[in-house]
């Protein structure tokens, strides 16, 4: 991996004078099989200040949150609170030390009441050791009032909207008297009004002296509420400082890297005639009015923030969910797709983002994973022919440069990158016309990444139409002929050629209309 230090030059690196950080991370590293998620990162949080943590998906943001909350143990480095070294062997220890996280997908209990969600594990008790419900309700009401939330503490959590669930999570954070509050994309799925309320809340937490780590992709809000920033890229800390010292451009540049340090395969973009056309695809809750076309040999990128509805669109195209309206044409003919097997028979295949749940069949050997959607071809009259399956698996895994001990090895034993190669091999073996790759290189090592990229280029050259959903800007820029940006379930913009710049993508995805400077 190349050094990324060149990005820091116009930024005042590291802490400025003034208050001492309440929480300080130094040299924190964390590796997973095949991936180095964090490499010697540093992070300081100050009392009464909001620090924005910025970075692309896969930059290591969620890993650092898990380290801070005791879910992951770092391989090396130091965590200190008020100068005292600490460690968090379990989630409970992190809570006791005053660190709390409000997660993107709020981890709370749907069937318990709001008050109980706030107080589970540390409810006020009567002298008989029973939960003092009156006191619990009163305290819950106080906490909710304190953050200005109009929620009845008696209602069941599942009857609340996402925004209110966030508020409950925040109230819980306050109830354990946290000193450090981590907010992981708290506004990602909120409406405009709710976002405003969240900002007010952050101000209030600041006023109470909490140190806040605010993870966000939205630059307007970072500049509005953050005091400091830290930028992660590829598991490294590439910049930190005061927000007042930088511009939006600086942050984007730090985030994306001035030079794209990955090498993408050379491609001569030469798309053929139109193969795949989607018109007016709608879903009651997930997306609406999705229309685009795709030509043979073309790689179409789909960019957007997490939760913008890209995967949902792709899964509807693949027949997993049913659209309420819309049509698909392949080679000019209407294709009715109501289930994945109909999509497969039309030559549309989907490499899912959630590899562990939707892609790999863990527990089954590699060759059976590869042959799975091609069993009609490898079998005879419904009877398996293992020799044919092995042959198919050999052919396609070799093409993808799979690294494994044997083809009858359980796919679950492979590294993430090699699992992904098997999943891609499995779909290629069906000889598709359209291949949809959803975050194809998420969480896999650099070597496998390059192999996957190489392969996508090859596929396009062979005349396949390729759709690639990705949240990594270098990947989108490096691979796509054309990019569609989605925001809040709709197509926000489409870029091609010279318009295809990181700034354009980030702005369109975040909904920033004009260039600020």
């Amino acid at each position: 991996m190349l050094a990324n230090s060149q990005g820091i030059d116009n930024v005042h690196a590291h802490a400025t004078q003034g208050a001492a950080p309440v929480l300080s991370l130094e040299g924190i590293s964390k590796s997973f099989p095949g991936v180095k998620a964090l490499s010697e990162v540093a992070l300081d949080l100050y009392p009464g200040e909001v620090t924005a943590l910025v970075g692309e998906n896969g930059a290591g943001k969620s890993t650092i949150v898990k380290v801070l909350t005791g879910i992951y143990q770092p391989d090396g480095g130091r965590i200190s609170i008020n100068g005292q070294p600490v460690s968090f062997p379990t989630a409970l220890d992190a809570g006791k030390a005053g660190v709390t996280a409000i997660h993107q997908e709020t981890v709370l209990f749907d069937d318990l009441s709001v008050a109980e969600n706030i107080f589970i594990g540390h409810a006020p008790k009567t002298r008989f050791g029973l939960i003092d419900r009156a006191a619990m309700l009163r305290k819950a009401k106080d906490l909710l009032d304190r953050i200005g939330a109009q929620i009845d503490p008696k209602v069941t959590l599942k009857d609340l909207g996402i925004a209110n669930k966030h508020l409950v999570a925040i109230a819980r954070a306050l109830s354990i008297d946290a000193k450090i509050v981590i907010m992981d994309e708290p506004t990602a799925s909120l409406s405009h009004k709710e976002i405003e309320e969240t900002y007010e809340l952050v101000e209030r937490l600041k006023a109470e002296g909490k140190a806040i780590l605010f993870i966000s992709h939205k630059f307007d809000e970072i500049f509005r509420i953050a005091d400091r920033f830290t930028v992660f890229r590829d598991g490294q800390m590439v910049g930190a400082g005061k927000i007042s010292d930088v511009t939006e451009q600086d942050l984007v540049r730090l985030m994306v890297g001035r030079s794209i340090d990955q090498v993408f395969p050379e491609r001569s973009s030469n798309p053929g005639e139109e193969l795949f056309k989607v018109a007016g695809y709608c879903h009651p809750t997930e997306f609406e009015d999705i229309g685009f076309s795709l030509r043979r040999g073309e790689i179409l990128g789909f960019y957007g923030l997490v939760g913008a509805g890209r995967s949902e669109v792709m899964q509807a195209l693949f027949g997993v969910t049913k659209p309420s309206k819309g049509a698909i044409r392949i080679d000019g003919e209407i294709a009715v797709i109501r289930s994945p097997d109909e999509a497969i028979s039309h030559g549309i295949v989907y490499v899912p983002e959630d590899r562990g749940r939707q892609g790999a069949i863990k527990g089954l050997p590699i060759f059976q994973n590869v042959s799975l959607p091609s069993l009609k071809k490898t079998s005879k009259n419904g009877f398996l022919r293992l020799a044919e399956e092995f042959k198919l698996a050999r052919d396609y895994t070799q093409r993808l440069d799979l690294r494994a001990a044997a083809l009858d090895q359980d796919i679950g034993e492979l590294s993430g990158g090699n699992q992904q190669k098997v999943v891609i091999a499995k779909w290629l073996a069906t000889q598709p016309r359209v291949i949809i790759l959803d975050e194809p290189t998420k969480g896999i090592d650099i070597g496998s990444k390059a192999a996957v990229h190489e392969f996508m280029a090859e596929l396009a050259a062979e005349g396949l139409a390729v759709i690639m959903v990705s949240s990594e800007i270098p990947e989108i820029l490096g691979m796509s002929d054309r990019v569609i940006v989605m925001r809040e379930g709709r197509i926000a913009a489409e870029f091609e050629g010279g318009d295809l710049t990181p700034e354009h993508l980030v702005r369109a995805a975040a909904g920033i209309s004009e260039v600020k400077s």
Partner: protein, 327 residues
């Protein structure tokens, strides 16, 4: 505090029970007489007690199929104890019964907690083992009324304030459960573990230990019921309460306790048990063969689970702003 959805579910069940009583009493007014209803309640008391224990287990995403075997074995143990030592006072016997039942619940719980064996397999196994042990210790013999001491037999039938002790025991357990499940940290942990085991870990709850506690509770109540059952019917043999575990699970399912864990209430379990008890006692009164009972409870289970599932459909992700406001 009780979630509104469950409240309505209980409301529907309570309305169904009332309608059932109403229909029966229009033709057979004697059935709805307070004295007869008290009899029905007394008859249903063992089912109520066991259903509450089962509820705790099901809340934590487990199932206890060994309750009836536990009941029968404990019943046999105390009956034999009574024949051997007729002077053993009843409080002592109660203590032994609860202790013995607890022990068997502990075995289930430890196998689930420490060895992570699926609860259905564990309790399927212990169910046959506990039944087998009854045969071994009794040699297949019955212990009949004349072998039991009068005090031993009299206890569950003793009338206090118009109700037999057996009924009071059920009431006591119901009240205890309302406090335990609603007000104690352990009771709330049952819900947390079953509702979202992942999040439970984040809040510092030990999932396995909580499940083990639920099994212990279920076992203790089965032990208690074992003595009450044997004393009330004044007989102990290998097959008493055979197949009763399914009736217990049925009461829970009918009462709206989700087999997926985390959802259910004391009121629901109570109503589910009462529903089955009323059906059982009403059949002979309305001149329907008691052989209909099994089919009726089976249909009730299917209807209840289908009803609960349709009201709990998972919603997809909401991305569109307008869709969010429409919900």
């Amino acid at each position: 505090m009780i979630p509104s959805l469950i409240k309505s579910r209980e409301g529907i069940l309570a309305a169904a029970i009332l309608a059932l009583l109403l229909v029966i009493s229009t033709r057979f007014p004697a059935f709805a007489a307070p004295k007869n209803l008290a009899n029905v309640f007394n008859d249903t008391a063992p089912l109520i007690i066991l259903a509450l224990g089962q509820m705790a287990v099901i809340l934590t995403r487990c199932i206890d199929l060994s309750v009836a075997a536990n009941l029968a074995l404990t019943g046999m143990v105390v009956a034999m104890l009574n024949t051997a030592m007729p002077d053993l006072p009843v409080p002592m016997i109660l203590l032994i019964a609860i202790g013995f039942g607890t022990l068997m619940g502990l075995v289930n719980g430890l196998l689930v907690w420490k060895l992570d064996i699926p609860p259905i397999v564990v309790t399927l196994g212990t169910m046959t083992i506990y039944r087998g042990i009854i045969f071994v210790i009794s040699g297949g013999e019955w212990i009949n009324a004349h072998e039991m001491s009068p005090a031993f037999k009299a206890f569950p039938r003793e009338v206090i304030l118009g109700l037999p002790v057996l009924s009071w025991m059920a009431i006591l357990v119901v009240v205890g459960f309302i406090i335990l499940v609603g007000r104690s940290p352990l009771g709330r942990a049952f819900y947390a573990v079953g509702g979202n085991p992942h999040a439970a870990v984040y809040t510092g709850i030990n999932v396995g230990r909580t499940q083990c506690a639920a099994f212990i509770l279920s076992g203790a109540l089965a032990g208690l019921t074992g003595y009450l059952w044997v004393a009330r019917y004044a007989v102990a043999y290998v097959d008493i309460a055979g197949g009763f575990e399914l009736e217990v699970v049925a009461a829970c399912v009918i009462g709206g306790i989700s087999i997926a864990g985390g959802i259910g209430s004391v009121g629901g379990a109570l109503l589910g048990a009462l529903f089955l008890g009323i059906v059982k006692n009403a059949l002979p009164v309305v001149n329907i063969s008691p052989f209909w009972q099994l089919a009726i409870s089976g249909s009730a289970i299917i209807i209840a689970v289908a009803f609960n599932a349709t009201s709990n459909r998972t919603k997809g992700r909401v991305i569109l702003k307008k869709a969010e406001h429409a919900l």
